[in-house]
Subunit: 232 residues, 2 copies
């Protein structure tokens, strides 16, 4: 049934920049992209996303699209910017509210809506020439995520329940896109009283067994609210 | 002429949380509010804002509304969040992209669209019971602004061309909502190489004349891009 309004309205969409972090893998964050099954940019790679329905919030819309298009049912999501340039979609005026998401790559099941969904490394993203203004959205998402981990604790939704400081450091290195000094990182990470040392160790290859930690949930929630200053 | 779409579309608006900073006045930031001339919330106080036109970007829409409704032609604007709760407007589904703005109160001319526009102190805002979800938008804007001044230089668009360190400190105190230690603030403020000392002093009441500074434009632009860590 068609819907009529007195004034023309932009279409409203949500898009998700889904970064994958796998503590067992080396290298930076990977990005989950969807191959477009229809014009425009048919066959090209794009962010998962779609139209906001009249009866759902923005958060609900992005969770639905992530599940339908990308097979992502669990993600740490944060809205970071609305993109409203006039010609960003060649079909009509579309304003998109963008989110970044962090997931464990192992937890992603296959998508259903999309022809194809797969993880891209950073050089692959650069080579893929994303559809619409999605390269700009990705660049801005990376920036927001870097700022996010400097002012709020990160990792609760991303690391395994028990993790080593090396795994936590790899997460920060992946987000920040640079190597961190091990001693400084450890000192800083332990300074917030966020990490509870466990009476367990884990062996990584030939290294000596590493101390395992878990997050103090209450302290984490408190610091997520109040903010921290994590400069490493 | 009415416009017809296959699926119902939320209305799209922009809203602006306009904070005023006057270096000569004591106290925190003031907030510019508009008295609503029509239902819903007729006679109540609300943020300036309105519908995004099909041919304008989000930034253009908020600048137009600020000029029309609030008499604000010059402002430092930053988009911070899109609000999409289902019942935030009793008339229909409306999604609003919100901005915060910082202006010098003296530069605001009278509004034209609105019945009334005036500056509110923080206790007055709390007592005014803002329309819609505007109290929530204001709370979130304050938080975004506090984070903004901790990670980017601030003041270029807000302080007079020549200013004293006391005036700059007052700006930070107004944004952060707390008193800062004078010596720490000065040390930190001077540490970025942002401030150029002038060969001029200004007298404030009975105090000894204070050194005047101006911003180094190039350095300011550079640090605005790269980010700083301003913890005071």
């Amino acid at each position: 049934m068609p819907h009529t309004y007195e004034h023309p309205r932009p279409a409203l969409t949500v898009d998700a920049v889904v970064f994958g972090f796998d503590p067992a893998a080396a290298g930076g964050l990977r990005l989950l992209l969807i191959r477009r099954g229809q014009a425009p940019f048919k066959g090209g790679w794009a962010l998962p996303g779609g139209f906001v329905r009249i009866g759902e919030t923005l958060d609900e819309a992005v969770r639905r699209e992530l599940s339908e298009e990308a097979g992502v049912d669990e993600a740490w999501l944060e809205q970071f910017h609305a993109f409203g340039a006039l010609k960003r979609d060649p079909r009509e005026r579309v304003v998109s509210v963008a989110y970044f998401a962090l997931v464990r790559p192992g937890e992603v099941r296959g998508g259903t809506d999309a022809d194809d969904a797969r993880w891209f490394t950073e050089p692959e993203v650069a080579a893929a020439k994303l559809a619409f203004d999605h390269a700009e959205i990705v660049a801005r998402a990376r920036e927001s995520l870097r700022e996010r981990v400097r002012r709020r604790p990160a990792g609760f939704e991303l690391l395994p329940e028990k993790f080593t400081l090396t795994e936590m450091q790899r997460l920060y290195e992946a987000v920040l896109g640079r190597t961190l000094d091990k001693r400084n990182f450890r000192k800083k990470a332990l300074s917030f009283g966020l990490l509870i040392p466990l009476d367990e160790r884990r062996r990584h290859g030939a290294h000596r067994p590493a101390q395992l930690f878990r997050f103090d949930r209450r302290k984490y929630a408190q610091l997520a609210k109040r903010g921290i200053d994590f400069e490493v």
